[in-house]
């Protein structure tokens, strides 16, 4: 079977070799990198711009961004026909291609996030490692903990007031440099699509900017959502089984409404930018109505109407917008709004990637993508629902692991 044939339905006149070659994993790719960039920008709002209300969520967002970072290249790996040759991109990068820069941008960004995390948690590493070093007859878990944290200190044990001040400065610089790099990481994902001149829907210079704006929206939404859920779970856990080593109930306040309110404000701000640009793009296409507008119109207003206007714009943008604007925001309402926002951004990626392949290069035929839900071989798993869900779950699992090394709550003193 030809790659793509299994999940493509062709209608009217379509070239014989045309199929939906870029399937759900290519939807996941900008979605995940968008979350990475968005989470980082959220954390930088505190570290760079000093928005004090976001102090709690900033630390959380940075660790989460790090977890997301590992999941971001996975969709590409699952999508490649030769995943083991993926390293060729780094060995013989062909720089006229937008994808060739991936390795460089990704590792630059990864280095920035990792360094920032190190400066942020350096004190914690030292505080864990040194007492363990002194301790005689360590248990096995203590040995492992000691080795991990002792390595993570990188041989620096100075946690004097003065050196911590310097750390703070370094964090500020890294977070500042990180913002443009994060935007570049994602904007360039937009460039991958926006520069395909053969595709009538993709080709627009607005694409990278639209991608960055919706990325920040999705990143903030996912961070806030996870933050609320984690905080609430902690509260429930502490309430239900009291253990002596657990923090006191009074100390576990649950989520602060002020944090939600402030973060939601930034969410709305970036949502306004994103929607404005998307609508500008749509209006401009309709107004100029060049050759391919005839088929684009039928795709946008007929074939993909539900995906674009109902799921993306109404449920993903309009309803959450109203939810957050009505005064007296509650946690439950915030959760509903955030889930809808994340779904909306996912649908935006879907409508770009799949929508861009919904019409033929002949401009007189259509293709429909049928997502493989129940896999019957490796290909239908990795390029179907199974693969997409696995990718989405991955950062949460990683976050759970990372949170053991980089605790996001109850640090005695934090930057």
């Amino acid at each position: 079977m030809v790659h793509g044939e299994l999940w493509t339905l062709k209608e009217l006149f379509v070239y014989p070799n045309e199929y939906i070659y870029w399937s759900i994993q290519i939807v996941m790719y900008p979605f995940m990198t968008g979350l990475v960039a968005g989470a980082f920008v959220l954390s930088s709002l505190y570290h760079v711009f000093g928005i004090k209300e976001l102090k709690d969520i900033a630390r959380f967002a940075l660790v989460f961004s790090f977890a997301l970072l590992f999941a971001a290249p996975m969709p590409i790996v699952l999508h490649l026909q030769h995943p083991f040759r993926g390293i060729n991109v780094m060995m013989t990068p062909h720089f006229t291609s937008a994808i060739a820069a991936f390795g460089i941008v990704f590792f630059t960004y990864g280095t920035i996030v990792a360094s920032e995390l190190w400066f942020l948690y350096r004190k914690h590493f030292v505080e864990v490692a040194l007492p363990l070093k002194e301790k005689k007859d360590k248990s096995l878990t203590e040995w492992i903990k000691f080795i991990v944290f002792y390595t993570l200190t990188l041989g620096v044990y100075d946690i004097s007031e003065e050196s911590l001040k310097r750390d703070e400065k370094a964090i500020k610089i890294l977070a500042g440099v990180g913002i443009p790099v994060a935007c570049f990481l994602h904007g360039y994902a937009g460039f991958i699509f926006g520069s395909v001149k053969a595709n009538a829907l993709w080709m627009t210079p607005l694409m990278p900017v639209i991608f960055i704006m919706s990325a920040i929206v999705s990143g903030i939404a996912l961070c806030l959502l996870t933050y609320i859920i984690v905080m609430e779970l902690r509260k429930i856990k502490v309430k239900s089984h009291r253990k002596p080593w657990m923090p006191k109930l009074e100390d576990v306040k649950g989520v602060e409404m002020s944090v939600i309110r402030i973060t939601a404000k930034y969410l709305l701000l970036f949502m306004v930018f994103a929607i404005t640009l998307e609508l500008l793009d749509l209006v401009f296409r309709g107004y100029t109505a060049v050759r391919h507008w005839d088929i684009l119109r039928t795709v946008i207003y007929n074939k993909d109407f539900t995906n674009i206007f109902i799921l993306q714009y109404t449920f993903g943008n309009l309803i959450p917008f109203i939810i957050f604007l009505i005064p007296g925001l509650t946690i439950r309402r915030a959760i509903i709004g955030l889930v809808l926002v994340i779904m909306g951004v996912f649908m935006m990626r879907w409508n770009v990637v799949i929508g861009g392949q919904a019409f033929s290069l002949t401009l007189s035929g259509y293709m429909e993508y049928i997502v493989p839900i129940i896999p019957h071989d490796w290909e239908t798993f990795k390029e179907g629902m199974g693969g997409a869900v696995s990718i989405f779950v991955m950062p949460f699992v990683l976050f759970w692991v990372f949170a053991k090394i980089f605790p996001v709550f109850n640090l005695k003193e934090s930057h």
Binding site: F13, Y15, Q81, H82, I99
Partner: protein, 262 residues
């Protein structure tokens, strides 16, 4: 014992050294240098000429191509194909290419996809014709531009080739081609396309499709040779190319191209 500063310095140097791609320290090959410096890179630039008036849609070219280039016969992908266009008096356009016209057009019904067929009465037809398609071996190939690893490249004589041992199978080139000539090879799982039967033309033979065409609708030639019959036609007669608006500078020329051709 090195101190930390030394260690960090050396690490940075080491990483920087590793980052220099091997290609940058390649020893200069005198022949390559000569080729790069000579004003005329190659004395050959392969071009293709299709006379749509002569095509009857028999599909012999598609069959020959599939056999010659080992594209699985029953797979629904093909390096070359033939399209049928039917314009009705009402001004409606119908077009199809069932199985790339591998078996020719055995019915008058137009394949509308999803199992639907449309029969058009003879008296309703304003005009109808066939258009063979293949890779345009563009002078400015977008597929080569977007390949992230350089696995697809243009030879000095203008043909765009794919390195099956290096292609990672990302599909970016497939997306970038406005002509839809690229696909994934069902067996090798790498990007695949028409290469003007490069293994044949470089040995003085014709391409498989040119050889198989019983009506002479397909011709291949060297545009840099003024005495080549193909060059003579392209330079002296009225010919067209497909989708010139993309700036790809396609090198497959058509006689009798209609504005309805997609």
């Amino acid at each position: 014992m090195i101190n930390r500063r030394e260690f960090l310095k050396n690490t940075v140097k080491g990483i920087a050294g590793l980052a220099v791609p091997l290609a940058a320290i390649e020893i200069i090959n005198p022949r390559k240098l000569h080729a790069a410096n000579s004003s005329e890179k190659s004395k050959v630039r392969w071009v293709f000429l299709v006379d749509t008036y002569k095509c009857v849609g028999c599909g012999f070219c598609v069959k020959a191509c599939k056999n010659e280039n080992e594209i699985p016969y029953d797979a629904n992908v093909t390096r070359t194909w033939v399209e049928r266009y039917v314009l009705t008096k009402e001004g409606r356009l119908f077009a199809d290419s069932p199985k790339g016209a591998r078996d020719g057009f055995i019915t008058t019904k137009i394949d509308r996809g999803l199992g639907n067929f449309q029969d058009i009465k003879k008296e309703d037809i304003k005009k109808a014709f066939f258009v063979p398609k293949l890779c345009n071996q563009c002078e400015n190939p977008p597929c080569v531009q977007v390949c992230p690893v350089g696995a697809t490249y243009q030879t000095d004589d203008g043909v765009v080739l794919v390195d099956r041992t290096w292609c990672i199978g990302c599909g970016y080139c497939i997306m970038a081609c406005p002509y839809g000539v690229r696909f994934f090879h069902p067996k090798y799982h790498t990007a695949e396309k028409c290469n003007f039967c490069y293994h044949r033309i470089t040995k003085g033979m014709k391409t498989a499709c040119v050889q198989a065409c019983p009506f002479g609708a397909r011709m291949i030639g060297n545009i840099k040779d003024p005495n080549d019959p193909v060059t003579k036609i392209i330079t002296t007669e009225r010919v067209g190319v497909l989708k010139s608006e993309y700036g790809t500078k396609p090198q497959v020329y058509y006689i009798g191209l209609d504005e309805e051709v997609r």
